[in-house]
C-alpha cells in the first residue's frame, strides 16, 4: 500500500511539474533553420513561353489586394501572391516570427516602424542596403528612411509616415468659444474651459493603451528613448523631455481635464460618437479612419497642427506608419524589391490602394502626395486641404528618433502601467520607468550591448 502510493505520487508529481520543456519543443530546432536557405515561398515557374518569378507578400493593410492586382496586371515577369494576415498585435507579428523560425516566411512582410529593429535583430529582415536604388532613396522622406536604417544598413522600405496632428470638433470649439491651441499651454487652458463650461465633455482622451501616443508626445518634446551611439543600445525612456510630457499629462488627468481610458474600446467610440471628446491627437491616417467610422459627423471635424512646446522651434513625432521588409528566406530579393519600389513610389499603386475606400495615409514618398490629395474627398472636412497640412507637418518630424529592439514588449509594459495609473495606482512616469526596467533584461538576454540613462 505505501509503496504503491509513493509511486503514484511520483508519477503525479512529475505530471504536475511546470512545463519547462513545453517551449523547447518549439524552440529546439530554431537555431539552424534560417541558415538552411531553402525557401518554399519564392520559386520560379515556367508557364507557357514566359518564365515568371513568383513572390509572396503578407500584409494586414487594407487595399493590399487591389495594389497586388494592379501590379500583376502590369508585369509579366514578376507575379505577386498576396496573403492577408492579421494585424501585427492581433497575431500578425507572431505569425511572421514563427514562419521565419520555421523557414517559410513570405518574400515580403509588412512591419510597422516600432517593430523594424526587433525583426532586423532577429534576422527576419534582410539587409537590403544594396537593393535600394538611388532613385528610391532620394524619393523618400529622409526621416522615414532614417527609422528603418541602422548602422547605415537599410532593413525595410517605408510606405507611409504619419505625423501626429490635432483633429478637433469645429462646431463644439465654436460653441464654447475656443480657438485652436498653438501650444500645449493653450491646449491645457482650452481643456480647463471645456471642463468648466460643460461638465461631461472633455478636451481630449489620454489613452491608457497609448504607448504609441506617449512616444509621439515624447518624440515631439525632444526625447530620445533609444539611441545607438557607440555601438550600444542606450536606453533612456524617462529622460528630461519625457518627464516633462509625463508631468503634463499627469496634471491633466489628475485634474480630470481629459478622459483617461483605452482608445481601442467601445468606451472611446461612445466618447467620440456622442461628442463628449472635443479633439483627438493621432496620426494623419486617422482622418480617413474617422470618415469611415463616423460618416454622420461630416462637416464637424477639422485638422490642425499638433500643439507645440516651443512654437519658435516646431517639431512633431509620428504615430503609425508601415514599412515593407524582404525576409532572409526570400529566394528572389531583387524581384521583391521591384514590387516594393513600385508599391511605395508609383502613383498607380497609391490609386489602387485608395480604390478600396477612403484613406488619408501620408505617403513616405513626397512625390505621391499630389495623388493622395487629388483622390481624397474633402467634403467631410469642410473642404480643408488636409494634405497640405500633412506636408507641412511631415517636414517638422524631428529626425534621429530610434525605436527599440523589443518595442512590442516595451509598449505592453507601458500600457499595463498606464492602465494601473488610471485605476489610481502609480503614475504616467511610473509606467514609463516600469517599461524601461522591464525592457533591460530582455535586451541583456539577447546579448546586446546596452547602457541605461535616466532611470
Amino acid at each position: 500500500m505505501p509503496g504503491r502510493r509513493s509511486r503514484r505520487s511520483v508519477l503525479a508529481t512529475i505530471a504536475a511539474l511546470p512545463p519547462a520543456g513545453a517551449l523547447s519543443a518549439c524552440g529546439g530546432g530554431g537555431g539552424d533553420t534560417r541558415s538552411g536557405g531553402t525557401s518554399s515561398t519564392g520559386r520560379t515557374v515556367s508557364s507557357g513561353r514566359s518564365r515568371k518569378t513568383r513572390i509572396t507578400f503578407w500584409s494586414a493593410l487594407r487595399g493590399s489586394q487591389e495594389v497586388v492586382d494592379a501590379f500583376n496586371r502590369g508585369h509579366d515577369t514578376i507575379q505577386v501572391d498576396f496573403q492577408q494576415v492579421p494585424g501585427g498585435m492581433q497575431g500578425g507579428y507572431a505569425k511572421l516570427s514563427n514562419a521565419a523560425r520555421a523557414g517559410n516566411a513570405p518574400d515580403i512582410a509588412t512591419i510597422e516602424y516600432p517593430q523594424v529593429p526587433g525583426f532586423a535583430i532577429d534576422g527576419v529582415c534582410r539587409d537590403i542596403t544594396d537593393l535600394v536604388g538611388e532613385g528610391l532613396r532620394a524619393g523618400l522622406l529622409p526621416q522615414s528612411l532614417g527609422l528603418t536604417t541602422f548602422e547605415k544598413r537599410v532593413f525595410s522600405v517605408p510606405l507611409d509616415i504619419e505625423p501626429m496632428v490635432l483633429h478637433y470638433r469645429t462646431d463644439l470649439f465654436e460653441r464654447y468659444g475656443l480657438t485652436v491651441p498653438r501650444t500645449w499651454e493653450d491646449f491645457e487652458d482650452a481643456a480647463r474651459t471645456v471642463r468648466r463650461r460643460t461638465g461631461d465633455r472633455r478636451m481630449a482622451l489620454f489613452p491608457t493603451d497609448g504607448d504609441t501616443h506617449l512616444a509621439a508626445y515624447a518624440w515631439q518634446a525632444g526625447a530620445q528613448w533609444f539611441d545607438t551611439a557607440g555601438g550600444a543600445w542606450n536606453v533612456s525612456l524617462a529622460d528630461a523631455p519625457t518627464r516633462r510630457v509625463a508631468a503634463y499629462w499627469q496634471r491633466l488627468t489628475d485634474q480630470e481635464l481629459v478622459f483617461m481610458n483605452a482608445v481601442e474600446s467601445r468606451h472611446s467610440d461612445v466618447q467620440i460618437g456622442e461628442g463628449l471628446v472635443l479633439s483627438r491627437l493621432s496620426g494623419a491616417w486617422d482622418a480617413g479612419a474617422q470618415m469611415k467610422a463616423r460618416p454622420g459627423q461630416k462637416g464637424q471635424w477639422a485638422l490642425a497642427p499638433l500643439p507645440q512646446w516651443d512654437p519658435a522651434a516646431p517639431a512633431v513625432g509620428t504615430h503609425g506608419g508601415s514599412t515593407f521588409a524582404i525576409t532572409k528566406d526570400s529566394a528572389h530579393p531583387e524581384a521583391a524589391m521591384e514590387f516594393i519600389e513600385w508599391q511605395v513610389s508609383h502613383p498607380d499603386a497609391l490609386r489602387a490602394r485608395l480604390s478600396s475606400g477612403a484613406s488619408s495615409q501620408y505617403p513616405a514618398a513626397p512625390g505621391l502626395v499630389d495623388v493622395g490629395r487629388k483622390a481624397f474627398d474633402r467634403a467631410y472636412y469642410g473642404g480643408q486641404d488636409i494634405y497640405t497640412l500633412f506636408e507641412q507637418e511631415a517636414r517638422k518630424i524631428r529626425p534621429g528618433w530610434v525605436w527599440g529592439p523589443r518595442m512590442t514588449a516595451t509598449g505592453k509594459i507601458m500600457r499595463d502601467g498606464l492602465a494601473r495609473a488610471s485605476g489610481g495606482r502609480g503614475s504616467v512616469l511610473g509606467a514609463v520607468r516600469a517599461a524601461q526596467e522591464g525592457t533591460m533584461p530582455d535586451l541583456d538576454a539577447l546579448g546586446l550591448r546596452t547602457t541605461q540613462h535616466s532611470t
Binding site: 505505501p2 512529475i14 504536475a16 517551449l23 555601438g231 505592453k412 500600457r415 492602465a419 546579448g447 546586446l448
Partner: protein
C-alpha cells in the same frame, strides 16, 4: 488509497523482509526462481510505458530547456550582425532574476499560494468530514455536484467565470447592483481573489473526494472508541478523524502547491478583459510572453528552469517538514 496509520504500516513493511533476508541467500527452489523471473518480466512490461513517457515528455524536454537556457543567438553590439549561437553561461538567468516583472510574477504567485492553499485544504477537508459524518443527506448527489466542476476543463471554467465577472453582462453583478453593491471583480484589489475563486470552484470537489476516500479507511473501532469516551461529532471529526488522514492532507497540499505555482490558464483568459492582469502576471505567463511575444527563447527557458527549481525545492521542503513533524508526533505518542 491511503492507510489509516501509514507510519506503522511502513514500519511493518520495512521490518518484514529482514527475517526473510537470510532465506533469500539460501538456494532457491527452481519453481520459485521462474516465478520470480515472471514477476520481474511483468514488472518490466507494466513499468515500461511509464518510463518511456517519463523520458519523452519530461526528461528530454527538461534537458532541452536547460540547454536552451545556457545558450543564446548572439550578435555583438547592436545586434544587426550575423547571428551565431554561443554559450551564454548564466546570462539568461541573471537577466531573469534582475527582471522586476518576473520577480513581480513570483510575488503574485506566492500571494496566490498563501491565499489559495489553506482555503482549498481546509475547505475540502471540512466538506469531506461533513459528508463522512452523515449529517448530509443525498450524499451521492452532493458528492457528484461538488465533483462536477472538476470535469470542466480549466479554460471553459475561466470563460464561465469571465462571463460572471464582466460588468454589464454578469447577472451576479446585476443582482448585487440592485442591492446597491458595486463590486468590480476584475479591479485592482479583487482580481486575485477572483482567480482564487475559479481555482477553488474547479478543484474543491476533487480534493474533497480524496479526503472522503481516506476517511472511509479510518477503522470503525477508533471512531466507536472515541464516541464511547464521550467525544461529540465535532470533536471526533477534528481530533480523531482529521489526524488520521494526515498523509492525504499532505499529499493534497503538495499537489495544490505544484499546480498553484504554474498559474496560467485563468489569468491568461481574464487578462483579455482587465488591464489589471498584464502579460507577465505569473511566472508561467512570463515564460509564454518571453518565448512568443519577445522571441527570446533563452530567457524563456531560463525562467522556466527557475520555476521548476522553485517547485522542486518547495515540494521537497513540504515533504521534509511534514515527515519531520510526523515523526515528532509519533515520538510524542
Amino acid at each position: 488509497m491511503t492507510s489509516a496509520t501509514p507510519v506503522s504500516v511502513a514500519a511493518d513493511a520495512a521490518a518484514r523482509p529482514s527475517p526473510r533476508g537470510p532465506a533469500a541467500t539460501a538456494p532457491v527452489p527452481k519453481g520459485r526462481r521462474s516465478a520470480r523471473r515472471r514477476e520481474l518480466g511483468a514488472c518490466g512490461v507494466l513499468m515500461t510505458p511509464f518510463f518511456v513517457l517519463l523520458v519523452t515528455v519530461f526528461l528530454i524536454p527538461v534537458a532541452t530547456a536547460v540547454r536552451l537556457s545556457f545558450f543564446s543567438d548572439d550578435q555583438p553590439g547592436l545586434g544587426f550582425g550575423p547571428e551565431r549561437t554561443v554559450f551564454a553561461g548564466l546570462r539568461n538567468y541573471s537577466a531573469v532574476l534582475a527582471d522586476p516583472t518576473f520577480l513581480g510574477g513570483l510575488g503574485v504567485v506566492a500571494l496566490y499560494c498563501v491565499v489559495y492553499i489553506p482555503l482549498m485544504v481546509t475547505g475540502a477537508l471540512v466538506l469531506a468530514l461533513l459528508l463522512d459524518s452523515g449529517v448530509v443527506r443525498l450524499r451521492g448527489t452532493v458528492q457528484l455536484a461538488l465533483f462536477l466542476p472538476h470535469a470542466v476543463p480549466g479554460i471553459i471554467a475561466a470563460l464561465i467565470w469571465l462571463y460572471l465577472y464582466t460588468p454589464g453582462i454578469s447577472p451576479v453583478i446585476g443582482l448585487l447592483g440592485r442591492a446597491d453593491l458595486t463590486v468590480d471583480f476584475l479591479g485592482v484589489h479583487m482580481v486575485l481573489p477572483s482567480i482564487v475563486n475559479i481555482a477553488l470552484w474547479s478543484n474543491l470537489g476533487y480534493n474533497m473526494v480524496v479526503f472522503y476516500a481516506a476517511l472511509q479507511a479510518v477503522p470503525h473501532e477508533v471512531i466507536e472508541a472515541s464516541v464511547v469516551d464521550g467525544a461529540g461529532p465535532v470533536r471526533t471529526a477534528l481530533q480523531v478523524k482529521a489526524p488520521l488522514v494526515r498523509s492525504s492532507i499532505v499529499m493534497v497540499a503538495m499537489f495544490t502547491l505544484i499546480f498553484a505555482l504554474q498559474l496560467f490558464t485563468e489569468p491568461m483568459l481574464l487578462s483579455q478583459s482587465t488591464p489589471m492582469i498584464n502579460s507577465r502576471f505569473s511566472p508561467s505567463m512570463y515564460v509564454y510572453d518571453a518565448a512568443f511575444t519577445r522571441n527570446n527563447y533563452g530567457l524563456a527557458a531560463a525562467a522556466s528552469v527557475i520555476l521548476l527549481l522553485c517547485t522542486i525545492a518547495l515540494s521537497y521542503g513540504v515533504t521534509r517538514w511534514t515527515n519531520r513533524a510526523g515523526a515528532a508526533e509519533e515520538a510524542a505518542r
